[in-house]
Each structure stands twice: as structure tokens, then as C-alpha cells.
Amino acid sequence: MAAKDSPLKQFEIDPISNIELGGYNISFTNSSFAMLITVLVITLFLTLTVNTRSIVPTRMQLISELMYNFIAQLLSDTVGDNGKKYFPFVFSLFMFVLIGNMVGMIPYQFTFTSHIIVTFALATIVFIGVTILGFMNHGLKFFSFFIIPGVPFYMHPLLIPIEVISYLSRPISLSVRLFANMLAGHTLLKVFASFVVSMSFFGIFPLAFIVALTGLEILIAFLQAYVFAILTCLYINDAYHLH
């Protein structure tokens, strides 16, 4: 298969304008453009639909309120009253990933969540934030998080390293989950799209499959954003209640 037709070609980054700052290449790329669109869609939607501030909501206002209540409920279910402080962050994270995934579903549009560096950065923000939160709430007692209560002491030399590794791998699992889902979905779509062309008349079968797969991908786009948000909530909860 020629590099031109590679299903991975859609993930290539093309600079739109070359910018350099302090010796670093910070070009505005198609990835940055997708982020810009994502942020614009979120901010405009959430601002314009609630502009009238009507007590009886319009349909669009209802969508904004549903999203608000969805995350508020998620946060209060997992973290409780402590979680209110982190609502703007979790909500932004959820909306950023969700709309980022959805923007990626538009044909020929770039999916920035399919880039490990982006998802890893988001996961690292969560990881570092939650770790700082844990130390702020519990001081050095935070390390007792790695000691599982009720386990015989001679098991600790084995279990503590496992707990530490599992804690440290949180940002990796969080970021790889999102990145891999997006990568696999878009690659699959692209592979079947190339079948449509190569199979000429019988291309209608892969086309039908793409239609079904697009529905599934939209579901996954939502699901991954939800998973990202709920895991963030759970990590915040862990920072409050060690066990």
C-alpha cells in the first residue's frame, strides 16, 4: 500500500502556519485547528444557548443543562460534596474530549484525541493534580494509600510495589485508553473506506459497514469522554478517601 493511501495518513500533522518561539516549533497545525474548533463549539454553544436564561428552557438550553447536570451528578455520585470545587475542571475535560472526539467524526476533520501526546498531557494534568491534592489533604499519610488494609504484613513487600506501579501507570492507562480507541476506530473506518473504492460495485457492502461503524464510533466517542471524566472523578475521590 502506498504511503499516500495509508490508513494512518489521516493522523499526520500538517502545519498551517509555522511559528517558532524560543527555539521551539509551535506551529499552528491541523491538530491545533481541531482544538480551536472544539473550544469554539463548546464555548459558543454553552454561552448562546443559555443567553436568554429562561426558566422554561429552549431545546438547546436544555442540552446545555443536561450536560451540566450529567457531570454534576457524576461528580456528586463519585466524590460527594468535596467534588463541587473540581466541577469546572471535570466539566471542561469531559466537554473537551467529547467534542474533540465528535469533531474528529466529521469526514476529513482531524482528531486530536487520537494523538498520544495530547491524551497523555491531559492524563498527566489529572495525575499530577490528584497527587498534589492527595498530599494537601493527607500530608505524608498519603503514602498509606499504597498499603492495603487487612493484608498480612509479610505480603507488604510484594503488594506495595504493585500498588505504586499501578498508581504510576494511571496516566498511561488513562491516556492510552482514549488514544487507542480513537486510533483504532478511525483506522478501521479508513480501511473500509478504501475497500469501497477498490471493490467498485460491491463497495456498497463496506459502505454499509462504514455507516454502521460510524454510529458505533459516535457511541465510543461519547463513551471514552465519559470514561475519562469518571476516572478523573474516581482519582479525585481517592485523593480524599485513601481507602
Partner: protein, 163 residues
């Protein structure tokens, strides 16, 4: 795999930081407070409506209680009025009956007196007639001319015997 090409890592991180920070601050400061205001306003409105409905219900119950109280009061008053009227009527009737009885008694007495008087008169007349008949009969039979008082005495004595 383009994802592992570090050429644009810095650029991606930079723009991610810029856009995500902007999004976070914008939502935190502008969008979310707006939605929260609307939701609070709605909840407040619902609470107010609920509490005013509760108040109105209480008022309605109070009014119903009052109406029932007044209704039972009115019923009692009406029944007392009926009782009073019945008693009054009974008194009036008995009074009228009494006066009627008196009148009747007086009338009866008067009538009895008249009857007695009439009876006496008639008896006198009858005695007179008897005397005359007796006198005439005796005169026809015996040519005896008896004085009236003798005849009267005889009749009287006879009457006395017969009785």
C-alpha cells in the same frame, strides 16, 4: 505512525495548553455560572410555587373548616328556632283550647240554666193543665165544685205517692 513523531510534540502541547486553559477559564468564569444561575432560579421558582401551593392548601382547609363550623352553627340555630316555634305554637294552641273550653263551659252552664228554667215552666204548665183537666173531669162526673187549691193539693199528694 505519525503519533510517535516528536516533531510536533511541543506544538501540540503548547496549543493544547492554550486552548484547554482558555476553555477551562471561560467555562469556569462565564458559561457554568450562567447555567448554575438558571438552574438555581428554576429550583427557587419551583420551591416558591410549591410553598405557595402548600400555603394556599392550608388556607383552603381553614376556609373549609370555617364553612363547616358556620354550617353546623346555622343548622343548630335553625333546629333551635324550629323547636322554639313548635313550643310557642303548642302553648298558643293549648291557650286557645283552654279559652275554648271556658267558653263552652259557660255556654253549657247557660244552656243548662235555660233548660232547667224551661223545664220548670213546662212543668208548671203541665200541672196547670192537669189541674184544669182534673177540675173539668170532676165537674163533669160529679158536679162537685172543688176549689183550686184542693185540687192542687191532691195532685201534689198523688204525685208524691207516685214518685
Amino acid at each position: 505512525m505519525p503519533q510517535l513523531n516528536p516533531e510536533f510534540f511541543v506544538s501540540q502541547l503548547f496549543w493544547l495548553f492554550v486552548f484547554f486553559s482558555f476553555l477551562l477559564v471561560f467555562l469556569w468564569r462565564i458559561s457554568l455560572p450562567r447555567i448554575a444561575t438558571v438552574l438555581e432560579k428554576r429550583q427557587k421558582n419551583i420551591d416558591e410555587n410549591l410553598s405557595s401551593a402548600k400555603e394556599l392548601k392550608e388556607q383552603a382547609l381553614e376556609i373549609e373548616k370555617n364553612i363547616n363550623l358556620q354550617l353546623s352553627k346555622a343548622k343548630e340555630e335553625a333546629s333551635q328556632e324550629v323547636k322554639k316555634t313548635v313550643l310557642e305554637l303548642q302553648e298558643e294552641v293549648s291557650f286557645k283550647l283552654k279559652t275554648l273550653d271556658k267558653d263552652l263551659e259557660a255556654k253549657i252552664l247557660k244552656s243548662e240554666k235555660e233548660i232547667l228554667k224551661n223545664k220548670d215552666d213546662q212543668m208548671k204548665n203541665i200541672n196547670n193543665e192537669i189541674k184544669n183537666i182534673t177540675k173539668a173531669t170532676i165537674e163533669k162526673i160529679s158536679d162537685l165544685k172543688l176549689p183550686d187549691n184542693v185540687i192542687n193539693e191532691t195532685i201534689k199528694s198523688y204525685k208524691g205517692n207516685s214518685s
